[in-house]
């Protein structure tokens, strides 16, 4: 999805539109960079609040 959604109870529109961003000589390169950024945003959102113990947890040795 495109970033964090605003906190509101009012009906709103959530847009997931994947379009070439401005500033790239090539639209295709721009789209791939957008995809990387989108993945980075999602990863950051999903890892907020993890403690050092969480980050070094292993399900089993090895």
């Amino acid at each position: 999805m495109t970033g964090a959604e605003p906190e509101s109870t009012a009906p709103r529109t959530v847009e997931s539109l994947y379009r070439p961003p401005y500033g790239f000589a090539s639209d295709r390169v721009g789209i791939l960079v957008w995809a990387l950024e989108e993945q980075r945003r999602a990863l950051i959102a999903d890892t907020r609040g993890l403690t050092p113990e969480d980050l070094e947890w292993q399900h089993a040795r090895g």
Binding site: V14, S16, L17
Partner: protein, 189 residues
């Protein structure tokens, strides 16, 4: 020694090179997934690391179901979806999400790898048929749909194709993690 080549090239039969490139990304993910799941037995496909956790079989079925959904929702512009006619199972047959403490769904019990290979192959053939004639302009088309919370979701077809790649890649990673957990549980290297 032959060169090792990693190239994503749009199939020439696709009207839109961009759509063809997305299709090839999906195909590359599928080749990797297929290679990493060869030899899995039915018991391994329905193994859970803990009650309530997804199995490899559930995730394979889920990848196929979700692919059919998004292709029908976006490129095919449908508002009613036919899963069984394409892959032979229904939307909820992957069992996802499992209830807390739940076991694998009965619909997938005892299914072997050939069953899941067939689901994925049929879903992908459906995707190919839908995308081969898509134009670059088709990727810009926006689809609006209501959400349960009263908001509206707007996606374009390009985002759907991107999402299919990220969706499959994410679950492919989970499948490999499950294989690792399974080997650790039985003491295999």
């Amino acid at each position: 020694m032959p060169d090792t080549r990693y190239l994503i090239v749009a199939p020439p039969e696709f009207r839109s090179p961009e759509a063809g490139t997305f299709f090839e990304q999906l195909e590359d993910q599928s080749r990797r997934l297929s290679k990493d799941t060869r030899g899995l037995e039915a018991a391994e496909l329905e193994w859970q690391p803990a009650p309530g956790a997804n199995t490899i079989g559930m995730l394979l079925a889920h990848i196929a179901i979700v692919e059919v959904y998004w292709i029908q929702f976006g490129p095919l512009a449908r508002n009613q979806f036919d899963y069984r006619g394409v892959i032979g199972i229904d939307e909820m047959d992957d069992g996802i999400p499992l209830p807390a403490g739940g076991g694998p769904p009965g619909t997938l019990r005892g299914r072997d790898l050939a069953f899941f290979d067939d689901l994925l192959a049929r879903a992908r053939a459906h995707t190919r048929r839908a995308l081969i004639a898509a134009s670059d302009a088709d990727l810009e088309r926006e689809i609006r749909s209501p959400r349960a919370d009263g908001s509206t979701r707007v996606v374009n077809v390009r985002w759907i194709l991107y999402h299919l790649v990220e969706h499959q890649a994410g679950h492919y990673g989970q499948i490999n993690l499950l294989r690792h957990l399974q080997r650790a549980a039985v003491g295999k290297p």
